[in-house]
Symmetry: D3
Subunit: 165 residues, 6 copies
C-alpha cells in the first residue's frame, strides 16, 4: 500500500470554521487521501458554538469533499492522532507570526508521538487575514461575519442570534 | 491509484547540502512516496560547488533513502515541477522570518501552475540555525564546517580545499 | 470640499493613554484635518481607569491640539466610524510583531465598512517600546510610570493610588 | 485651505509596477487629494524597464485616477519630497517582515526632512504576496507574469520579450 | 574588584523549569560570577507548582552549579534586582517573536532602575521550541513531559499526578 | 581571578560606526571589564571608509571609555576571538527581524569555538532604527547623516566629501 493512502488530521477549535479553514481543508483534500477535521473540546474555555454544533455545520460545509470527515476529540492532539493511526497533522500558516507557536507545537507533537509530522500549508492570500477570534469578536458586537465564514456557518450564527435555532 | 503514490519535489540550490536539508528530505521521504531533490542551476550566481558535484554528493548522502532521487534543472521551479508531473513542492521552514519569502514563492507557484501546492515542514530544532550561506562563509574563511553538513559534503569541500579532487 | 477636510478616528482602549499614543495623535493631528480619539468601552474587561476618567484626562492632555477631540464608544469600531462619517482609522505600529494583528483588523474593518481605510504611522523610536499593558503592570506592582505616560495621566494614577481622587 | 489639499508621494522603483502597487495607489487616491507616484532612478542598479518606460506604462495604468500623477527622481526621497512640497510619503506594508526596514526608512526621512511623515497602508490580502522581485525572476526565466501585474505592464514586458517594442 | 564579580539575576515564573531554562542558566553560570534564579510570585495567576515547590526542585536541579542560587520574589523585577544589588538581568531568547516583548521589558527595567541592563542569550537550537506553557498544557492533559524538563522536575510532576507527594 | 575580568569582543563592519553602535559599546563597557571593538576586514566588499580610517575615528569617539579598545581583524570572528582569548562576543539587537540572523551566527560561533557565547543587548529605543546601511545610502546621495553618527564620524565623512582629508 502506498504510504499516503492514509489519514491526515487537521486539528483545531473551529469556533467557528472560517473561510480560511475551508481553504486549507479543501487544498489538503486535493492532496492527501483522507483528511479528518478534528475539533478539540476544551471544556474550560468558553465557546461560541458547542462542539456538536460545530461538527454538524462543518460536515454540512464539507460534504462535497468526499475524502473529508469530521470528528471531535478531547485531550492531547498527539495521543488522539496516534489512536486514529493518523499519518500526519495538517495546519495552515497565515502570517510569519503564526510560525513561532506552530513550530513549538509541531516539535512537541513529534516528541510525544514518534514520527507524527506536521505538514504546513500557507493560507491563500485572500484568506490570510481571517481568524476565528476576529469572527467571534465581530459576532459578539452584532456585526456581519458573512465575509469571513461559509454561508452555512453564517446561517447557524444568525439563527442563534435571532433565537430561532 | 491513491493520490499520493506520486512525486514531491524539494527544490533549492543546495550549495552545499546541509544537515538541515538532510533533515527535511529524510522526514519527507518517510512521509511521501517519492521525493526528488531538484538542484536549481543559476549560471549568473557564483557557486561554491558545480551543479554536477552537488548532484553526486547528494546522491551519495541520500543513497540509503530508497525513495529519494536527485536531479538538476534550470528555469522556473513551477514549470519544472509540471514537466515532472510532480504532486507538490516541499520546503523547510527554520525561523519565522523565512515565512514571508516562502509564502510569496508558494503563492507564485500556485499561480504559475494550477494545483501545485507547497508543503512546509518545520526544521528540527537542532538544525534550525544552519544555512548554506553560513556554511559558505565559514568555508571561504577556512573554517571547519563539519558540524553543519553531512560527512560526504565535508569531504568534498576538504578535498577541494587541499587541491586533491 | 477637499477630500481630507474630514475626520479620522484613532480607536483604542487607552487604559491608560501613554506617551506612545500621544506621539501618534500629535503627528496625526499635524497631518489630518480632524482627529478623534475614540475610547472603546469593553465592560467585560477589567480596566484600570473608567472610560469617563480616561476621556477627561485625554482631553486635558490633548487640549493644546485644536483639531483633536475625544469620545467614547461601544461596539464595533467599523460601525462607530461609519456613524461618525469618519474618513479613515489611524493606528500606530511599534514593532514588526504588531503588524499581523493590525493588518487583520484593518482588513476586517474594510470588509465591514466599505472604503474605511486604516492609516498606519510608525511609532517614533523613543516611544516604540511603551505599551499600556506594561504601564498597568508596573502601576499595579506599585512602580513609577512617569517615564511612560503624560504628566496628567501620571497624576490621575497617583491620586488614585493614594486615595485622594 | 484644509491641510490635506496637498500632495502625498508614493516613492519606489516600480520595476515593474505590480497589482500590489496599483492597489496601494488606488486606495491612496481615494483618500488623499493628490498622489504622485515617484519612480526612483538608481543608475547603479540593473533594471528590467528603463525609468522612462516605467513612467509611460504607469501613466497609462493610472490614467483613470484623476488625482494621480507620475514622475521620476534621483537622489534622496526626503529631499525630493521637500522640493515637491509634499505633505507625506505613502508606502504599502505586505507582511510583518516589511516593517523593520520601512520603519527605519520612515524615521530616517523624518530626520532628514522635519515633519515629513510616512503613511502606511496594509496591502489588500489578495495582493500581499506579490513583489517586483518575484515578477522580475519569473519574467527572466520566461514565465507568465500576467497574474501579478496590470495588463498594460504585461503587454510592455511581452513586447520586449518578443523583440517588438 | 572587577566589575563582574557581582550578581546577575535570571527572573521568571519557572512554572515549571524547563530544559530551555536550564540551558540558559548553565551557560550564564559559565559566564558570570554569580547567577540567581529569581522565581516571581504572582498570586493572581493560577500556577502548576507552588513557588516553594519550584524553588526546591530548581535548587536540586542546579546544585552542581556552584555559583547559582535560587530565590523567590514578588513585585517588580527592577525593584527586586536593585534590592539585591544585582549587576544585570539575564533572559533567554528562543525565537524572533520573543524579542518584541523582551525588548519592551528590558527598556522598562532600564527606566525603572538606572543602569539595570538586560543581557540576552539565544537559546541553544535544540531547546528553542520548549516553553513552560506547552509543558503545562501537555501535563494537564495527562501527557509525558519528560522530553522537556529536567528529570527532577518530571519526578515532582509525576508524584503530584499520582497523589504521592 | 573572577571570571569576567576578561575581554568581550564587539565584532562588526562599523562602516561607519553609528550612534546605535556607540550606545551598545557604551553600555557594554559599563558592564564588562574590557571591551574590544573588532572591525572585520572584508576585501571583497566595497566599503565607505577604509578599515584604518574606521579604526582611527572609533578610537577617537570612544577614547573617554577607558576599558574600550579598537582592533581590526580578517577571517572568522570565532577564530579571532579565540586568538584574543576573548570571553564572549557582544552584539546589539534592534528589531525582531535581526534575531534570526544573529541567532544563526551565535550558534555557528559556539560550534566553531567551544564556550564562545554571544551576549545580546537590546538597542536603546531611540537608536533602534539606525543602521550603517541607511547611513551609507544617505551619504552617497549627498544627504546629512549627522543625526545618525557621532560628531567625529560625521566630520570624517564631510572632509572626505569636500576632498579635504
Amino acid at each position: 500500500m502506498p504510504k499516503s493512502s492514509r489519514l491526515v488530521i487537521f486539528p483545531g477549535s473551529f469556533d467557528p470554521l472560517t473561510l480560511g479553514h475551508l481553504d486549507i481543508v479543501t487544498r489538503a483534500a486535493g492532496f492527501f487521501d483522507q483528511v479528518e477535521i478534528a475539533i478539540g473540546i476544551n471544556e474550560s474555555k468558553k465557546s461560541l458554538l458547542e462542539p456538536e454544533e460545530r461538527k454538524q455545520v462543518i460536515e454540512e460545509v464539507t460534504k462535497r469533499l468526499k475524502n473529508v470527515t469530521v470528528a471531535t476529540f478531547s485531550g492531547l492532539v498527539a495521543e488522539y492522532a496516534v489512536s486514529r493511526k493518523a499519518h500526519a497533522l495538517v495546519r495552515g500558516l497565515r502570517q510569519a507570526g503564526d510560525f513561532d507557536y506552530e513550530a513549538r507545537m509541531a516539535h512537541a507533537n513529534l516528541s510525544l508521538a514518534e514520527g507524527l509530522e506536521t505538514i504546513f500549508i500557507a493560507a491563500s492570500p485572500e484568506y490570510s487575514s481571517i481568524s476565528s477570534t476576529i469572527v467571534r469578536d465581530i459576532y459578539r458586537w452584532g456585526g456581519d461575519v458573512s465575509a469571513f465564514v461559509p454561508a452555512q456557518v453564517n446561517d447557524v450564527l444568525n439563527r442563534r442570534r435571532t433565537g430561532t435555532r
